[in-house]
């Protein structure tokens, strides 16, 4: 018979982790799923890495030189960097890795637009020459937002950026054990003894990434099962426990519970700007006037107000450039009569609004239910289409009219870490046909984003972000439904767990 208690006492060099979702692939450049990014950050390293203040610090790089115009950047790799297959990391690997990343990442695309040359000077030194200044180069190379600028061996980095890689060799602190990968059930990472640890203290993606485990095993399981397994000591760390289960976990003296990501999340009500009735900004504004963020947040995160707040902004609260400029429409008591009046002025005449809701995802289901109720309160004719996330993912890409397979509204949420500034914030873009789903178009928003990219200092960045926020509210690029935090939980035998936008495995220890 099994002896779970005995088994539990063994293997202090093993960390058992339950991730937020199934690790279905391992390419954080071709794909932007958070769970894939989180796994990839263990296996691949970055040239620079942000710390908890979002400041980029040298990681694979020893350092850099830049000219006064921020146009010529010269980087030098640290000596002794090795890939998991034993090969030395050189600029021959770095250049194709950056080229692949530049195709997929919004900041990478900005670099590519300005790029004159990306050239190797020797095995450890390379240079990026630009025709326009790009002061945010280090942030681009060190950010945690997917796609991350991961450095891969040349043969892997040459993969089409729209195809998933099939070999998982990096130079990060953990090796991915492909043989033991059971997609949908288990993923195994093993310590890379050849990893060259930096001497500085580790913080997020910066500094020394010291791994104190021989193996880190990810197990994918149902939330109720994960809660029981954590209480029973069969797992050590659970990335995203459901809010409903938090009170039970908090009562257990062997379990620690804390906020996972200090940047939290921003809920999103996304309208299709191409199709009636939301091709009329007045109707989009009427919806925003009716949205009560408290209702959304209670439905998403529960009654514990320490884990959510209303958010009259498109940006993450508590970050240096947070602004509420233009956010008046989301403040104060909701005025349904005024919203109805605006709908009437805009000529809304009971046309059907197709609300596509992924009911298999607790957050989008909660958001969708509140939206249906809100729209009905202001007299809109709601067609609530309950479906799964896989279908929403496909349907939201259709530009067809809603009665021909298109849509009017869907919900999602954005990681707050992606909303600290316009660079990783795909949902903020208002470039029309090339914008994110919903295809919002606003020259004012785009002008603000361009100003932010070119901003030479913090004051200019702040001004640009205020301008973007105002224009985004004016355009109703989307409707933020509030800001919410999520928990993580771990056994008290585990120490060193930090709050971050991704699970930080380095420097974690287990008694």
């Amino acid at each position: 018979m099994a002896a779970p208690s005995i088994a539990r006492a063994q293997g202090s060099k093993l960390l058992r982790f339950v991730p937020q979702a199934n690790l279905s692939s391992m390419d954080a450049v071709a794909g932007t799923q958070y769970v894939v990014r989180n796994a990839a950050l263990m296996v691949w390293d970055t040239l620079y890495g942000i710390d908890a203040s979002l400041t980029p610090k040298p990681q694979m790089c020893e350092g850099h030189e830049v000219d006064a115009a921020f146009k010529t950047w010269t980087f030098k790799l640290r000596a002794g960097l090795k890939f998991h297959d034993g090969e030395t990391v050189t600029t021959r690997d770095v250049i194709p890795s950056l080229e692949r990343w530049m195709v997929r990442d919004t900041m990478g695309q900005q670099i590519k637009l300005r790029l004159d040359a990306l050239e190797a000077l020797d095995d450890r030194t390379f240079r990026i020459r630009l025709n326009k200044p790009f002061p945010k180069m280090l942030f681009a190379l060190g950010k945690n937002n997917a796609p991350v600028a991961l450095i891969m061996p040349e043969r892997i980095a040459r993969t089409d950026p729209f195809k998933l890689i099939s070999e998982y060799v990096g130079s990060g602190p953990m090796k991915f054990n492909t043989k033991e990968w059971v997609p949908g059930a288990k993923a195994v990472f093993e310590r890379f003894d050849g990893y060259s640890v930096r001497n500085e203290p580790g913080e997020w993606l910066a500094g020394g990434k010291r791994i104190h485990f021989d193996r880190i095993e990810w197990s994918i399981m149902d939330p109720a099962t994960a809660a029981a397994a954590l209480q029973n000591g069969e797992i050590d760390w659970w990335e995203t426990p459901l809010p409903d289960l938090i009170p039970v976990l908090k009562k257990n003296p062997n379990i620690r519970v804390d906020i996972a990501d200090p940047f939290g999340n921003i809920g999103s009500l996304r309208m299709n700007h191409l199709q009636p009735p939301f091709n009329d900004p007045r109707i989009r504004r009427a919806v925003m006037m009716a949205v009560d963020q408290s209702d959304y947040m209670q439905a998403v995160a529960g009654d514990d107000t320490s884990t959510w707040k209303t958010l009259p902004s498109f940006f993450t609260p508590g970050t240096p450039f947070y602004t509420e400029d233009g956010g008046e429409l989301l403040k104060g008591k909701r005025d349904y009569a005024a919203a109805k009046k605006l709908l009437a002025e805009a000529g809304y005449n009971g046309e059907k609004v197709v609300l596509v809701v992924a009911t298999d995802v607790a957050i989008t289901k909660a958001e969708g239910d509140v939206t249906a109720d809100t729209l009905r309160k202001i007299g809109m004719n709601v067609d609530y289409v309950a479906t799964d996330w896989g279908t929403v993912g496909a349907r939201r890409a259709k530009k067809d009219p809603p009665n021909q397979g298109g849509w009017n509204i869907f919900h999602t949420w954005h990681a707050g870490a992606d909303c600290v500034n316009p660079a990783p914030y795909t949902a903020l873009d208002a470039g029309g046909d090339k914008a994110w789903f919903g295809w919002p178009k606003s020259d004012a928003v785009q002008a603000g984003i361009a100003k932010w990219y070119d901003a030479p200092d913090a004051a200019a960045e702040k001004a640009a972000m205020a301008e973007i926020n105002r224009a985004s509210f004016e355009n109703v690029t989307y409707v933020p439904t509030g800001f919410f935090l999520m928990y993580q939980a771990w056994r008290s035998s585990v120490t060193g767990v930090v709050k971050a936008p991704f699970p930080v495995f380095w420097n974690v220890q287990k008694a």
Partner: protein
Amino acid sequence: MFAYILRRIMATIPVMAVVALFVFSLLYIAPGDPAAIIAGDQATPADVERIRASLGLDRPFLIRFGDWLWHVLNGDLGTSIFTNLPVTHMIAQRVQPTFSLMVLTLTIALSLAIPMGVLAAWKHGTWIDRVVMIFAVLGFSLPVFVVGYLLAYTFALQLDMFPVQGYTPFEDGFGKWLGNLVLPAVALAGVYMALIARITRATMLEVLNQDYVRTARAKGVGQRAILFVHALKNAAVPIVTIVGIGFASLIGGAVVTESVFAIPGLGRLVVDAILRRDYPVIQGVVLMFSFVYVIVNLLVDLLYTVFDPRIRY
């Protein structure tokens, strides 16, 4: 007999061809897009479109079907869109947990349900019969996930007798293997016990009223021999049919139990693949399911001849 078996095996080919066409067509028209899932929530519509093209999902139906069929005929079920792993490898990873769960579930179900059914038929109309029937009704009525969570709460969390979740391969030790499977197998066995006990009882009741049973009694044959040698063998054909159906349905039908106890079985594989629209995996697993169904049916038909020598093929 040999010709019959050969004929039946050959008959699997058109069955699987129809299944292949049906599954492929169904997935083609079903909503959803693996490219959107790979790309993730931050990707732009253009990125999604490029990924779809790189996966070949923008090609016409007939070309995609023909390509897939050609590979299948060459013994290649393709590779997962997401993991780039061969589908055969992903299926092979999941066979042992599912097969282990099936064997243990049916062992528990058969070893308890058949004696219960026989006992209920023998003691027809008494309190024993009623207790067995109440158990059968409960077995049918209680959802497996409720039983599963109750078992896990009691025997894993409270009594610390078994692990809450997971699967240990057989080669890592029989004790660990069994320990991981006891709770899920018991949870799942409830339904099959109820079904088999009811069928056994009903069939035994019919058989026990037959003339030859009365004759056996008149000749002084003992009760145990009447029940388990004479009557049960004659009641076996419907029981074998039900066990066969149960065996086949367990291959992919244990998904709830697999999820509750985090067992990496075939049921979870196919459900995950459906949710992600991992077409090659869905197609490969469904083809395999259909093949196993056909083979199990064939085995059941052959078993009939063991229990009833009058049956000839």
